[in-house]
Amino acid sequence: MMKKKYLINARIIDPKNKIDELGGIIIDEKGYIESVGKKVKKENLPTESEKIDLKNKIIIPGLIDMRVFVGEPGYEYKENFRTLSNAALSGGVTSVVSMPNTLPVIDNVSMVDFLKRRGRDKSKINIFPAATLTKNADGIQMTEFGLLKSKGIAAFTDGIRTVQNPQLMSRIMNFASQSESLIMQHAEDNILSNGGQINDGEISTRLGLQGIPSLAERIIVERDLAFLEEYICRYHISQISSKKTVEIIRKAKNEGKIFTAGVSINNLSLNENDIGDFKTFLKLSPPLRTENDRQSLIEGVNDGSIDVIVSDHKPEDEESKRLTFSQAATGAAGIETLLPLALELFHNGSIKLEKIIATMTSNPSKILGIKKGNLDVGNEADICILDINKPWIVKQNELKSKSKNTPIENRKLQGQVLKTFVKGELVFERN
């Protein structure tokens, strides 16, 4: 049994409950939220109680990151549950959806117990495991949606892969709706993107790298949205990268189609020019596109076409990146810089603070159907305390993730997580 905690003098932002006010939060002995808001202030609390004065820092719900690669099982040398947990907590992330592209892949119920046990024993964050849509993520045979979901699988996705076969995809959407399973599609037509390294454009022409046309993304999104008219299901597009896709999603949502979409913080904050002289840490999937695309993605977040921002945290060891661009592994580590990098979009006036926080708390919570990402009284106290103005510089060797492949080395950011609580327990505190 813990001691009751009184956090006072904070700015509390909770998008789900539309709270943005000065006040405090009381965490009970069991780690649940007992009270929250402006009524929690010094005068109303027992005088003998020990209070933590947050001096106008911000309290937000612990973040939910919907796209995270763990490395366990099979790639422990890139990231394990312990290192992931440390990295996540220092970035204010208390819940993650773990991608199933492990070795072996997460495609059967026996793996789910392993993940839950490892996650519980080695990490302090909440792991919501995703399983694949197809056996071995090879796009041929669908997985056991009902059985997997009943074991605790939160979502289904082939992760870095896309179900190419339209017949299979339509059947997956038809079948998975029975168990109300959440489908998350990585939208990329493999044939159109085959051999591609970066966005198809002037930069790919100059660098002599084969391009990935934005059509490769668009064609899968349009296909799946057509299926969605026939087969109503819980459908989420993992992450989009281009202006055209934003427009398609906006139009479909305006027409009343029910689905959701995400974007990686990398595509919101960087563009293809940042690849410079073959920086392999910026080799990403979907690729970084033009500044025009980036601006459209920001608009998409602002008008609700895009629901969530993810880190797309994909740790890769040095050996996988110290190669020529076309041989190097795809992906960037980013879970601990997700929020600070997103705050850059607040500081430069691109996106409102409440919107940014909603895309990482209340929105993913709603999509996943979990009791996380809000400050509801009675919920487990997963919270994060934030200094929104603190300047700092990203340094590879200070990252807690086992792999150091950050795409924003030496970037000057503003805003840092000071403390993170999971289930009422202080699990991270910045020195």
Partner: protein
Amino acid sequence: MAIIKKLKAVKINQNHLLGIQDLSISDVNKILDESKKFIKLNKSSSKKINLLRGKTQINLFFEPSTRTQSSFELAGKRLGADVMSMNIVNSAIKKGETLIDTAMTLNAMHPDIIVIRHQDSGAPNLLSQKVNCAVINAGDGRREHPTQALLDALTIINRRGKVEGLKIAICGDILHSRVARSNIYLMNMLGAEVNVVAPKTLLPHSIERLGVNVYHNMKKGLDNCDIVMMLRLQNERMQGSFLPSAREYYEYFGLTPDKLASAKKEALIMHPGPMNRGVEIDTTLADDINRSVIREQVELGVAVRMACLKLFCKNI
């Protein structure tokens, strides 16, 4: 001989020759001026001098190459360097060694120059970050082949006096061509007007942003041109179908006397080789001694590479 000994030390602003994109116009002029001096040497009976005596040059070829590799080898030997050519196509890389590991191994042998050809764009850039010697790009992926463009410029200057003001058409598989990219940068830099002529499927995205006029009709693209540069159809790099057939390609994009007629009467024909006769170029045109300077390109290639070896070797 005597002329070369009197040469003053010429400085290049770069440590490595990774691409034309990195060079300034004064760098290019230094290389071309230097090359001209070697043309004469290469025609003399005693071709060997000792400018690079005691220096070690490693040719690191990850892709098969005949003319570029032998050209670099000969260039190094004529300057007196110790030249070692490594064909990595069947070597350590196949055993799982990475480019960086290979580079570190070679670097431990203290070479003064590494000449690299690699199938991946950017490989010479990566190599240059890891070794202590000068790196010369002998072709990387689709990105650059700087010495080819320099020898093309030298050939044009040798025949026409200068590049400035000329109209140059680069025709064929632009998409997969590093020669095209390097030539586009260089000919633009030297003041030529550059046309590219290709079927739409063999043009890279936004090629017009590199400062060229784009044509899909060969006669229009060759109209009033001074130089016609043909490119090899790179079948080995083509995954999937870009064209219906070699026959259809030849019909619309092969260089024939009929299409050449729209260029200037005295227009020169160039080709980086190896040629696919009857695919991108009519065989009699390729051998026409009045029009084709294809063999001269090979000859001047050695001079250009000697100049590059000299200038970049001294620069470290």
